[in-house]
């Protein structure tokens, strides 16, 4: 049973990370029906933004008060990237056939990865991003794991889960209780009518991108703390998994993204433990995640919680 709880905790940790990223996919998709394939890169740039802030301001320090400032740095980097990407690449394609933005997204994704890989060490004092870069260790949120009975919980894992809880609450408040959030809901239901009602649709779209970027940046920092290193490729797999999570929960549905992320994380962790024989174990966990993605898309494309029926060619 201990094994079960251990894997449950591992799964929830992993799932929280997926959930934080998945919100970005789901919000953007809900409003402009665009799979922002480059969102994984926004997450990666968030992690690098945090690292840059640390290297510039607090090199070699470990006090916990550094963390919020690192988070701000991460959020700034991610939001700037996401907003620029929307403005420069996606906005001109808003009425283009569906293929165009998807290919653009792949292009942006490759471009951002390469830009970080090639140019990160051009900034004086920064390490080369061609290999993995160690991520700073911060008091309280990293360090010796906490033991409850036989279950081990990493401190960074707790940070991730706490971040998800806080972000979900704020997100709920933002979407349901603020003018901007309600404008967002209106645009996602019917952009034309919303704009007739005086909602600036362009602005709402930018806000959606920025909101996704904020959560992705927090996820980036969490991943850095958990793995204690980051690299320029980290966005691809995480982005794909997070997209799976968003689909699993019902894309376009914010609560769905959170639930989907947690479910996906737990399923992955359980697959490691409970699938017997050679096809179990950690080397197949990614395969199982993709199998879930395909099964969900085929059999329940509206996701677990359901969202607007998506039917577009």
């Amino acid at each position: 049973m201990d094994q079960f709880f251990q894997q449950l905790i591992n799964g929830l940790t992993l799932g929280s990370l997926y959930a934080l990223i998945a919100v970005g996919y789901t919000v953007v998709y809900g409003i402009v029906q665009l799979i922002n394939f480059a969102h994984g890169e926004v997450f990666m740039i968030g992690a690098f933004g945090a690292l840059s802030t640390y290297l510039l301001l607090f090199d070699d320090q470990t006090q916990v008060w550094i963390l919020p400032i690192m988070l701000i740095g991460a959020i700034a980097a991610s939001v700037i990237t996401a907003v620029l990407m929307e403005r420069v690449a996606y906005r001109p394609l808003r009425n283009a056939p569906r293929l165009a933005p998807l290919i653009t997204a792949i292009g942006i994704s490759v471009f951002l990865q390469e830009a970080v890989r090639l140019f990160y060490d051009k900034i004086p004092g920064f390490p080369s991003a061609k290999q993995r870069i160690p991520f700073p260790q911060i008091d309280v949120v990293t360090g010796p794991a906490i033991q409850i009975g036989d279950v081990t919980i990493q401190r960074a894992g707790i940070f991730t889960m706490a971040a998800l809880a806080v972000c979900s609450a704020l997100l709920w408040y933002f979407v349901n209780r603020t003018r901007l959030g309600r404008g967002m809901q209106a645009v996602s239901q019917d952009p034309d009518t919303a704009s007739l009602m005086g909602i600036n649709v362009d602005r709402i779209i930018v806000v959606a991108f920025a909101m996704g970027a904020v959560l992705a940046a927090i996820a980036g920092v969490s991943q850095g703390l958990q793995n204690s290193n980051i690299d320029f490729r980290m966005g691809f797999l995480a982005g794909l998994k997070a997209f799976t999570a968003a689909v699993l929960g019902g894309i376009g549905n914010i609560q769905g993204a959170v639930v989907g992320g947690l479910v996906l994380g737990v399923v992955e962790a359980m697959a490691i433990e409970y699938i017997p024989g050679q096809f179990g174990g950690s080397s197949w966990k990614d395969v199982w995640a993709f199998v879930i993605l395909i099964l969900v898309l085929v059999f329940r494309p509206q996701g677990l919680l359901g969202a607007r029926v998506v039917d577009r060619a």
């Binding site: 799979i35 283009a96 689909v247 080397s283 395969v287």
Partner: protein
């Protein structure tokens, strides 16, 4: 692009009216200066950009300048002179001259920049170079002053004897063969880039004068000749290499890439189904071939002849294609893209894991299957050097011919399907699936067929690739490779044969020849995708119909497409 530059550099009408009479003499003087300059020495240092340091004995890059100058001379004579009555009403000589002026100026400026960068300083540029640069400048200025011809006749009405058309096609093809051989022979990046500028200039002139339009019409009339000529040219390419295998290695890679991209073109270009995991089919073929090969690391103890291996590889790939295609019953659009991406990753991870400890021993996991022996069909070993007509054809040349046959087969399948009931069904599905279904098109069956045929062709290519690459490993089949294949199609023009061949060539050839930028290759690749989607989403060689899908509000284009369709039906 050229259009944009030319528009921006346009002089105000008043200036053209006032000084227009100087345009023609100025252009003529420019052409004369360029030719004279090209016969003089350009560079003090004989070791840069080939040898440009001799007087009266033009080197390769100088001859290119002379060619552009001669083309400009012909255009000048069309504007005013003996060629005017014959060609004046058809050829837009003034716009052609503007393109020639612009590109010749870019070319000469790059030459000067190249010499000074390679040899160390402008001091190394000899008078000839400056004379030619001045000539280019004069031609540039003069061409701006020549007013465009007022009335031009529709080029589709231009009638010349069909023997002449065939001759032009043959000459064009021969020019492409020599151009390709010449470009591949350039060792240094500067010369290669300069040749590209030269080729770009000629193409721009062709587009602006209307030659390309005319050539397009005449090649539609003589399609079979054109196809045949293209393959004859490709067939003779190894014989231009003088036994050297270095360029043939690049050429074989281009062919494999092109054949795979052409298979993907069926799925994406014809049926409109976005597949982001297509490289898995190539990988499936390659892995099957490797496992059934005589390699000491092969994991299956059955060594059938290669024809059987090919069919097995393609069969396995096609089966995978059917499996991957099956969700199309329920998902479409972006969702389908993600499903295929997921399948692609599952394939790669499976190949990575099936190493005996994490699953049955099939692929040796991350190490892959190395030491795959060369193909041997009958008594013909592809690894040996054979001599044909006194020219040695080494290993890669042998594979080149095999791959060329494969590419021909793939193109045949593509065009036959495209012109069939099936192909029309695909177009209908692509443009409006619901309407197609209502008209009685079996949408699910046709979509599955697209996946299966595409996968089959990629599997075929994969079986040859395994032998040619000597080894297979999971990291050859990553997502980025699928993205590259897709990019070749997008860049060239979805659903076209010529476009995809062009796109595949550009994407494989440029990084090989421009080693200095290999570090930035992917960066530019990403940027290229974004810019293409922004400015020319229909690709370099666009099928009109595709173009219309991306520019729905363009009424003129719609009319053109309609008349073209009518023409096709009438034929």
């Amino acid at each position: 692009m050229n259009e944009r530059i030319t528009e921006r550099l346009k002089l105000p009408d008043s200036v053209v009216q006032k000084y227009g009479r100087f345009g023609w003499p100025l252009g003529l003087a420019g052409v004369a200066l360029v030719i004279v300059g090209a016969f003089l020495s350009w560079s003090y240092d004989p070791d840069v950009l080939g040898d440009l340091s001799l007087n009266l004995y033009p080197g390769g890059l100088q001859i290119l300048a002379i060619i552009i100058a001669l083309v400009s001379l012909a255009l000048l004579l069309i504007v005013r002179g003996p060629l005017k009555p014959r060609f004046g009403p058809w050829v837009d000589a003034a716009l052609g001259l503007r393109a020639a002026g612009t590109w010749l100026l870019i070319y000469m400026a790059l030459i000067v920049a190249g010499i000074s960068a390679e040899a160390g300083g402008l001091i190394n540029v000899n008078p000839g170079g400056w004379v030619a640069l001045l000539g280019a400048l004069l031609l540039f200025a003069g061409s701006r002053l020549i007013a465009p011809s007022a009335e031009l006749r529709d080029l589709s009405e231009a009638k010349v004897p069909s023997s002449l058309e065939i001759l032009v096609i043959a000459v064009m093809m021969a020019a492409i063969l020599f151009g390709a051989a010449y470009a591949l022979g350039r060792e240094d990046a500067w010369s290669f880039v300069l040749f590209l500028v030269f080729a770009g200039g000629l193409i721009a002139i062709g587009v602006r004068t209307g030659f390309v339009t005319w050539f397009g019409h005449s090649s539609i009339r003589n399609r079979k000749v054109l196809t045949l000529a293209a393959f004859v040219v490709a067939f003779f390419f190894p014989f231009t290499q003088g036994g050297s295998d270095a360029n043939m290695s690049i050429a074989t890679q281009v062919l494999i890439f092109a054949a795979t991209a052409m298979g993907l073109n069926i799925v994406v270009g014809l049926a409109g189904l976005l597949d982001l995991g297509y490289v898995a089919f190539l990988g499936a073929g390659a892995y099957v071939a490797a496992m059934l090969s005589n390699s000491a690391f092969a994991t299956i103890d059955w060594k059938p002849p290669f024809v059987v291996v090919m069919l097995c590889g393609a069969g396995v790939a096609a089966t995978l294609g059917l499996i991957i295609g099956s969700p199309t019953l329920r998902v479409s659009g972006d969702y389908l893209a993600i499903v295929t991406l997921g399948f692609g990753e599952i394939f790669r991870l499976s190949m990575f894991n099936l190493d005996g400890t994490n699953g049955p021993l099939l692929t040796n996991g991350p190490n892959g299957i190395p030491a795959i022996p060369d193909l041997e069909i009958g008594s013909f070993n592809f690894g040996d050097t054979h001599e044909v007509l006194g020219i040695e054809l080494a290993r890669f040349s042998n594979y080149y011919f095999l791959l060329l046959a494969l590419l021909a087969f793939v193109i045949l399948v593509f065009t036959r399907l495209n012109n069939s009931r099936i192909g029309r069904g695909w177009v209908a599905i692509r443009e409006d699936e619901k309407a197609a279904e209502a008209m009685g098109v079996n949408t699910f069956g046709l979509k599955l067929l697209a996946f299966a045929v595409g996968a089959f062709l990629a599997g075929l290519a994969g079986t040859i690739k395994a032998h040619q690459d000597v080894a297979v490993s999971p990291d050859q089949y990553i997502f980025l490779e699928s993205a590259f294949l897709l990019a070749a199609i997008v860049l060239g023009g979805m659903g076209t044969v010529a476009g995809v061949l062009l796109g595949a060539t550009i994407l494989k050839l440029l990084p090989e020849k421009l080693r200095f930028f290999s570090e930035y290759r992917l960066l530019f690749f990403g940027l290229l995708l974004v810019l293409m989607m922004r400015f020319r989403p229909e690709g370099l060689v666009a099928s009109r119909r595709r173009q219309l899908e991306f520019h729905e509000e363009d009424e003129e284009l719609a009319v053109a497409v309609e008349s073209e369709l009518a023409e096709e039906v009438g034929k």
